[in-house]
């Protein structure tokens, strides 16, 4: 939420949400955090997005701890439910690798597992309501906070570049430098004569370089584009039903004036929570719960708020599919590209 203050415009709100917390060298030569998009821009290449790195490392470590707890206790006996769930993921990745990677490598499967789970976790941050963590950061004095690392092109292209380096490494390792260069220059126009080879050298190299470079770009930009678009839609939905955006909470403003007090949000949240909790405990029937929730929504923010909730919910369900699919696609494409690097053409 825009902090409940009425003087933030909608475009400010969106821009604020799309700005990374950047650490770099200011124009005056001192090092520090950028306080605006312009400052971040001015820092040039040698600056770091602190939030992207923080969240991707946290999620990577979460992935490691999650799997390590199972791996440490892994045995061939009857698995616990948690172990079975982890093994299901491992099995899934292993099957994907076996089906798509035609070669032997001890490296591909762990790589695929890491990419799949790590990217899934990073994408999943998108499903946390867009204002929660930034608001928390703001209360701790951090101005900008982008919690979904995969909506930062640096993160996705960083991973894509690693894969690109691996493609080149394996191509040279399997086919040799000559074989790799031959692959880049000997096709798609093939000729047996020396003259033909010389004639086709440049066009072949151009075409093959394009297809080579397309690999990391397709990996990184596709993931980035999907997640960025998804994040943007969440931000737009959040903006529509944010009180104080002018469009929505006319009813509330007429009661509280410009500023809706914090206790109102706390009471509203607690009421909804209690309703859901009582339903889970079986004290209220499902039908009554739905009516109660509807009434609470209407009381809290009017129809627009309710509409926002429903839109958020609907998009979250759809986005859950995208989140999983994009992680899967990144993994599969990595496997396929590395498989191609292992094959002779």
């Amino acid at each position: 939420m825009a902090g409940g203050s009425g003087n933030i415009t909608q475009s400010d709100y969106i821009r604020h949400h799309l700005q990374n917390l950047t650490f770099g060298q200011h124009a005056d030569g001192s090092w520090g955090l950028a306080h605006s998009a312009e400052q971040a821009q001015a820092m040039g290449f040698w600056a770091f997005n602190v939030d992207t790195m923080f969240w991707s490392l946290i999620l990577g470590i979460a992935f490691y701890i999650l799997f390590r707890t199972v791996a440490k206790k892994a045995n061939s006996g009857v698995p616990s439910r948690f172990q079975a769930a982890i093994e299901f993921i491992v099995e899934f990745v292993d099957t994907s690798v076996r089906e798509s990677f035609h070669g032997t490598s001890k490296f591909i499967a762990p790589l695929a597992l890491t990419l799949f789970v790590w990217i899934f976790f990073m994408n999943f941050m998108d499903l946390i309501p867009v204002d929660w963590l930034p608001a928390l950061a703001k209360s701790a004095g951090i101005v900008h906070q982008k919690v979904v690392p995969t909506t930062d092109v640096n993160a996705t292209m960083g991973m894509a570049l690693t894969v690109f380096v691996l493609i080149i490494y394996f191509s040279i390792k399997i086919k040799g430098v000559g074989g790799f260069i031959g692959e880049l220059t000997g096709q798609p126009f093939a000729s047996d004569s020396v003259a033909g080879k010389i004639v086709f050298f440049i066009p072949n190299l151009l075409l093959e370089l394009v297809s080579l470079v397309a690999k990391p770009v397709s990996l990184g930009l596709r993931l980035f584009g999907n997640m960025y678009a998804g994040e943007l839609i969440f931000i737009l939905i959040a903006m529509i039903f944010t009180a104080g955006s002018g469009f929505v909470a006319g009813g509330l403003s007429s009661i509280f004036g410009e500023h809706i007090p914090a206790w109102f949000w706390i009471v509203a949240t607690v009421t909804v929570f209690v309703t859901l909790w009582l339903n889970l405990k079986g004290k209220i029937a499902d039908k009554h719960t739905l009516w109660l929730l509807l009434a609470e929504m209407l009381l809290v923010g009017g129809m627009a708020f309710l509409g926002g909730q429903l839109m958020h919910f609907g998009w979250a369900i759809f986005h859950l599919l995208i989140v999983t699919l994009q992680a899967f696609i990144f993994m599969m494409l990595t496997i396929v590209y590395l498989s191609m690097a292992h094959e002779h053409h």
């Binding site: 990374n20 490691y64 440490k72 790589l111 690392p149 993160a155 292209m157 960083g158």
Partner: protein, 156 residues
């Protein structure tokens, strides 16, 4: 949305995580899973084998039961034969014993009858002689009338 050095850091982070995964996560997990698969396969094979053995044992048992039944009926048959044999034997023995006893009895009877007849004959002879002597009042020379007397006896 600037391209900056985050791209390098993220690249490095990814390599480290992949290395961790390769070193500490993947091998134990996949090993445990492979081992379990092997154990399950072994278990299934063992159960298949046990089932087959059970089937074979069942066949063997029914075979043995059939054999036992055959043997039992054979024994009963033999017993029956033996029974008839013993019965026949006993009947034969009894018959021959009876025959023997009858024969012996008949011989005894015949002997006794002969004896009695002899006795009677001799008594009759002496009675006749005595009677005749009385009648004739005269001593009859027994020796002299031997022939006559014998004739008389035979006629009795």
């Amino acid at each position: 949305m600037n391209i900056n050095a985050t791209i390098i850091l993220q690249s490095i982070a990814m390599m480290i995580f992949v290395w961790f995964c390769m070193k500490y996560l993947w091998p134990p997990l996949i090993q445990a899973m492979d081992e379990r698969r092997e154990r399950i396969a072994e278990g299934l094979a063992a159960s298949d084998k046990a089932e087959k053995e059970l089937e074979a044992a069942k066949v063997q048992v029914s075979e043995q039961i059939r054999e036992a039944r055959d043997k039992a009926s054979e024994i009963i048959e033999q017993a029956n034969q033996r029974h008839t044999q013993i019965l026949d034997q006993a009947k034969d023995d009894a018959l021959s014993e009876r025959q023997r006893q009858v024969t012996a009895a008949e011989a005894d009877i015949a002997q006794a009858s002969n004896q009695a007849r002899e006795d009677l004959r001799s008594s009759v002879a002496s009675l006749a002689v005595l009677g005749a002597g009385k009648i004739l009042e005269k001593e009859i020379d027994a020796q002299a009338h031997r022939e006559l007397l014998d004739k008389l006896i035979a006629e009795i």
